[in-house]
Symmetry: C2
Subunit: 154 residues, 2 copies
DNA sequence: CTGTAAATGAAAACGTTTTTCAACTGCGAG
DNA sequence: CTCGCAGTTGAAAAACGTTTTCATTTACAG
């Protein structure tokens, strides 16, 4: 069942959030678009009708919608990376410990079956993928931290 | 065969790049660390010995090393995202067209086998993953653009 | 040693995201 | 319907992270 601006509005209210004109405008912009939009792009779109809306509001609304799982986030390849020495020669992927930041490598990645399937389903000609696992490394599982005590990189 | 600062230095030279003290310092910092480091983190590390090195140089060197595949890039969850309306209710992933930016959904994702395997191999307790496919959508395959003419979002 | 193209650092420009705070308003209680 | 207030907003500034510019320095081939 497809999400509409109206439905999302209802979800917001049911969760105790207010349904403001600004939020409605943002909902319309997002539901109307078949693209993925950056916060700025959303702002520009919304602005056409709602000239005075602040970019801050866009950020706040996006955050809210993402939290509630009403919008999806795409990693648009921008600049939010950290780096580490390459260890395996081969194509591989990473596991990142959300406790301490440790990164482990994973080489036996076989997405080709999935890629084929997806390719057939969608008609896309796939040429690369981004795959990362998140979790707790062995030692962080033991530590069993108090909560919210991530120390790792960044 | 593990990459060392020395070996990477050799690669650089063999590719016609100069081996400067700054680059060496960065290589040492990166090879010494078992963590993934942000550009700023690398800068801070390197600075201890090489007080005058500029953050610009760190950025330039990282770019170089990444291009040559000597370091790996981890998507550290920062802020480089675009957003779109959630379409499938279920857990799913995205295919992004590098031609026009179109995003397609892919629901039949089954990484659980891989997750189990990786989990066994590394001892990680995996609780989430990031998976995205990149490629050309059907219509962009036809268009066969001149080159570098991405128009999509962002 | 020298000449030259490559590399560097300081500073400024940039684009994005967050913080702050005073003003405003959606909406439920009365 | 009105009132009151917690929730929401916008302007502005601060905080970031990254890139550009440009004059100066330097690695290294010849
Ligand atoms: Mn999604
Ligand atoms: Mn890697
Ligand atoms: Zn850990
Ligand atoms: Zn396309």
């Amino acid at each position: 069942m497809k999400l509409t601006a109206r439905k999302i509005g209802a979800v917001l209210k049911s969760r105790g959030y207010r349904l403001t004109p600004q939020r409605n405008a943002i909902l319309s912009a997002v539901t109307a678009s078949h693209d993925h939009l950056t916060p700025t792009a959303i702002h520009e779109k919304v602005r056409r009708e709602h000239k005075n809306i602040g970019l801050v509001t866009v950020y706040r609304t996006i955050e809210l919608l993402a939290e509630l799982g009403l919008i999806c986030e795409v990693h648009s390849g921008g600049n939010c990376h950290s780096y580490l020495l390459r260890r395996p020669d081969q194509h591989h992927h990473h596991l990142i410990c959300s406790g301490c930041g440790t990164v482990a490598d994973f080489t036996s990645c076989d997405l080709s079956d999935m890629e084929q399937k997806v390719s057939r389903q969608t008609g896309f000609d796939i040429n690369s993928h981004l795959l990362e696992f998140m979790g707790l490394c062995r030692s962080c599982q033991k530590d069993d931290r108090p909560e919210g005590s991530v120390s790792g990189a960044k």
